[in-house]
């Protein structure tokens, strides 16, 4: 066996990684400090002006705030919902259990585009079923436009996102619950601990590492998520639900401002690298333990 064999086998995969990761990142850095517009085709070093423009833009800060809320609040709620479902499934009610587990997981398997479409349709102002029910109950007026109202648009998209992400948390929590040694519960029962105390002193501590991995992964994925917002609102109305990945598309492919788009994508990259670093540290700590 030659020494180079293992490296040669990696070459094709590495070429592809260079193609979608290394090259684009380098090219992005170059774009972001140059005056490149798809229309004007100008070129030349302009330093950090594009970054300055991005940071001066109020839409950027709005999108940043929205993305943070969308990622953090959305993930936390999804984890709580997922844990609830996992606890329910862990009671093992018999045959219905595995069917229920299957049905509860469906939102996660389905394409985000279909999920966005389905949510947009049940929330439709005139013909959506949710509005019809709420109006029949006298809670809202007929024709309330949840996605068209800057006050509620982001919340609706988050709801859809939570709905799509909770099954992942559910599956992971369920695996975590099933890994808890039964002896711990038996010992606690012998000592006379109530169900609530057992939950807080045994179940929750045992799920700590799963929850932290889920939290970071969820935040990273939601931070990157373009699909749900794009399909449901395109960031509107009036940027009320704008998030950073959608803003990159808007700057680049709608306003044809490559420079600012590139600067923004580098900013997103830096944010994501910090989050990923956190994740890696957590995973390696777990391996070491």
């Amino acid at each position: 066996m030659r020494k180079s064999t293992p490296y040669l086998l990696l070459v094709p995969a590495l070429l592809f990684t260079v193609f979608v990761v290394v090259y684009p990142l380098v090219q992005n850095l170059i774009n972001s400090v140059c005056d490149v517009s798809m229309i004007r085709g100008g070129k030349g070093w302009i330093g950090l002006r594009n970054y300055e423009l991005v940071f001066k833009d109020t839409v950027f800060w709005l999108a940043f705030r929205n993305t943070a809320v969308y990622a953090v609040v959305g993930t936390v709620v999804a984890l709580v919902v997922g844990l609830g479902f996992a606890l329910l499934l862990n009671l093992k009610v018999g045959r219905i259990n595995s069917i229920a587990a299957f049905l509860f997981t469906i939102p996660w398997v389905i394409s985000p585009v279909v999920a966005g479409f389905a949510w947009k349709w049940i929330l439709n102002d005139r013909f959506g079923i949710v509005n019809h029910w709420l109006a029949s109950a006298g809670l809202v007026q007929i024709g309330t436009s949840w996605l068209g109202d800057p006050q509620t648009a982001l919340v609706c998209v988050m709801l859809a996102r939570i709905w799509q992400f909770y099954p992942f948390a559910m599956v992971m929590f369920l695996a975590g619950l099933q890994a808890i040694p039964q002896e711990q519960y038996e010992a606690a029962a012998v000592d006379g601990a109530t169900m609530i105390r057992r939950f807080f002193y045994i179940t929750i501590p045992n799920l700590k590492s799963v929850s932290s991995v889920l939290l970071v992964l969820g935040v990273i994925w939601s931070f990157n998520d373009f699909n749900m917002v794009f399909v449901m609102t395109r960031g509107g109305p009036m940027n009320a639900s704008m998030v950073l990945p959608v803003l990159v598309r808007e700057l680049t492919f709608v306003h044809f401002d490559l420079g600012r788009g590139s600067a923004l994508s580098i900013i997103i990259f830096v944010m994501l690298v910090s989050l990923s670093y956190l994740y890696l540290r957590m995973v390696s700590e777990k391996d070491a333990a």
């Binding site: 992005n28 997981t105 992971m172 399909v231 990159v248 923004l264």
Partner: protein
């Protein structure tokens, strides 16, 4: 009694969770005048499969379906070939920098699409692959590779070294050993990986949206995602497209649930 209450709770929760789909499904069977009716109804006597045929006839969904099939199956095959070479290297050799390479692949999975899309767009345009099947296949392959390598790496590690050593003693070369011994043994794992890869490409929206522009290359999610904004009046046909598009993932998931969930838990914890 307790069992009955819990079962009812599960049924109720399942109904709530599936509400968006049930409503979409109901819509996909209705004629247009009943879709645009208030108050809305769940079932009607006029339900039929007509929106499904309409969608293929009036909207370009037959082309989109073909495109999706071409892109998803080609990227799956390409990823499997390239990924198994890399996974073979990781699982069977000790070499300098192995850990770094593995980490690099894991990390590239976290990469935000938004931070690479612009240069990819420019590059594909420059080399004439923008708005082509090949361009999208190459990008999807690259996106799927890290995950596929990690999965295959795990499956290959599970195959005992001795089997391979025996093949080498019998006069096989390393690559022959991979092709004739390891790959057949890892077949179930490779099958599961192929499913992940296929679904990954099938459902992918962001790159498919931004790297295509004509109907002859757009995939189904792009069609649905764009039409939601433009053809608001044909909700029943859009719903039909959404239902049909969801069937492959649903069916695949139904048959591979165990592997799916296992891989999911292992992949995220690893």
């Amino acid at each position: 009694m307790k069992k009955f209450l819990l079962s009812s709770l599960m049924v109720l929760l399942a109904l709530i969770v599936l509400l968006p789909f049930l409503w979409t499904f109901s819509t996909s069977l209705k004629p247009l005048n009943e879709v645009n009716k208030y108050p809305p109804e769940w079932v009607s006597v006029n339900m039929s499969l007509k929106p499904y045929s309409d969608m293929f006839f009036y909207l370009p969904f037959s082309t989109y379906t073909l495109n999706s099939l071409i892109v998803a199956s080609s990227s799956t095959m390409l990823t499997l070939v390239i990924g198994s070479l890399a996974a073979f290297s990781f699982s069977r050799f000790q070499f300098a920098g192995k850990k770094i390479f593995l980490m690099a692949f894991l990390l590239s999975q976290m990469l935000p699409g938004a931070s690479v899309i612009i240069p990819l767009f420019q590059l594909l345009q420059k080399i004439g692959l923008y708005d082509t099947h090949i361009g999208l296949i190459l990008v999807h392959t690259a996106l799927l590779l890290p995950f596929v390598i990690w999965l295959l790496y795990g499956f290959f590690l599970g195959i005992p070294r001795e089997v391979e050593d025996a093949a080498l003693i019998d006069g096989c070369s390393r690559l022959q050993a991979l092709r004739k011994v390891i790959l057949p043994l890892a077949l179930p794992g490779i099958g599961a990986t192929a499913l992940f890869a296929f679904l990954g490409s099938w459902n992918e929206f962001f790159f498919a949206l931004l790297l295509t522009s004509s109907d002859s290359t757009k995939t189904i999610p792009v069609g649905i995602g764009l039409f939601v904004g433009e053809y608001l009046d044909v909700w029943n046909q859009m719903a039909a497209a959404a239902v049909l598009f969801s069937l492959p993932p649903l069916i695949l998931f139904m048959f591979t649930r165990k592997t799916f969930v296992k891989g999911l838990v292992a992949g995220a914890c690893k």
